[in-house]
Amino acid sequence: MGLTAENVTYVYDAGTAFAVPALTDADVRVEAGRLTLIVGPSGSGKSTLLALLGGLISPTSGRVLVDGLETPGALHGVVGLVFQDPESQLFADTVRDDVAFGPKNLGAPDTEIPARVEESLEAVGLSSAAFGSRSPFTLSGGEARRVAIAGVLAMRPRYLLLDEPTAGLDADGREAVRTILGEMKGRTGIAVVTHDPEEFLPLADEVVAIANGRVAGTLLAEEFQRDASLLAGLGVGLPDIVRAQLLALERTSARVPLAFDPEAAAAALIAMRDATR
């Protein structure tokens, strides 16, 4: 089970003079109940990986499996893809119509669609009564983004892939997105592509680092002494809290599991300092 990319390689314009390898020999797994962060500098191949996992493009080599089957997940609504800047894809007259677009295309029975729309709007924290009949173009940035996400949730995907879901939002907007993801995590396997891991670390179970089109390492949130320095060498934007611990590690021989949140990190730092005294 799970949404897996097995040794996938993707080459743009393969076979022509303009061939450009975007991703090489990547292995990634997204599982229900877990949130996987995919981090890396821009141009590293993260978005290509997402498109592959969603089945919108086929790998040049290797395969993508959705619960053991080689089917294009996104086209069947099993895998939901939320692209960057998703509110720029809103088009319908009303919020309800836009959210209904996905389920309608997938052939959901007409009687079921209104319920799905209500359900999805609720899941993103938007009141159907207040927002349902409004034009998507009158919404604020954060509201529009949530409508776009609702449009994907309405397809009831088993896996949810998001590309920079908080880019361009203010603190309230980002908090809203994190809340949505936290709530979806139980039923859905989630993968978030971000170049700012700081935001999602508290929610993450696993971090996959991508650089230059290759998977450079996979960290589990619980244990990663060795792997953390791997992240450091990637030029990925490391959160200040992690950087502080990495710097402290240079001053001590003590080995304490690294933490993502301030409280645990403070404890770790104090422990490392005391070990040198």
Binding site: T16, L75, G80, F91, N105
Partner: protein
Amino acid sequence: MRPAFGQYVPISSPVHSLDARTKMLIALGFTVALFLLGSLAGLAVAAVAVIACIRVARVPYRVALRGVRAVALILAVTLIAHALRWGSAPLPLLRIGPLTVDGRGLLEGVFFAGRIVLLVVGTSLVTLTTTPVDIADGLERLMSPLKILRIPVEDLAMMLTIALRFIPTTATEAERVVLAQRARGARFDSGGPIRRTRAYVPVLVPLFVNLFRRAEELSTAMEARGYRGGPGRTRLRESRMRTVDWVVLSLFVAALAALAMVL
């Protein structure tokens, strides 16, 4: 990224170094000449000229002829419309049921189709060998006499520059919107023509909305950098007609005149 049809090929050649105005005037002259000539012989001469230009421009044939694919449908329709006749024909070559392939009609079709090909390839040589900056610049300078007629030449040139600047950006945006809607189950390849056209509404609406938003933000940014319309602006780039430009133009005019007398 694979270059689009007609996109600038960044190499150096005698054609690349010509002033944009020279190339545009020749393209204009070439177009007019194409429509004035009436014989296959003339077309052949034009074809030789275009091939010669492609060689001198050092542009790969594959790239130069890419435009032909874009008009393939028009070419096919032209050929068929001229070549096929219902019932009998002056010079029958082949019968296909009630239709006859007419020899003379076929030649006519080849002529008209050939003219379209030469038009497309010939004029694309301008965009293949001239950067968008220089095209917009050249057009502005060519049009500047029109200022006497109170035509806002500089503003029109600015519009052209902005349009050229945003063509690739908008193309990428369109691709992304299509991808996003496909991820929501939209199909763009099924159903009759009406259905297919309607399928593009979820792509066109966001593109247009973005267009207006972009226009507002861009114009604000332009005003913030002091833009207040065309007149009074100086330019970074200088383009001067050099001797070689005048020589090429003169030779071209001479060739046209000679051919006009002969053909």
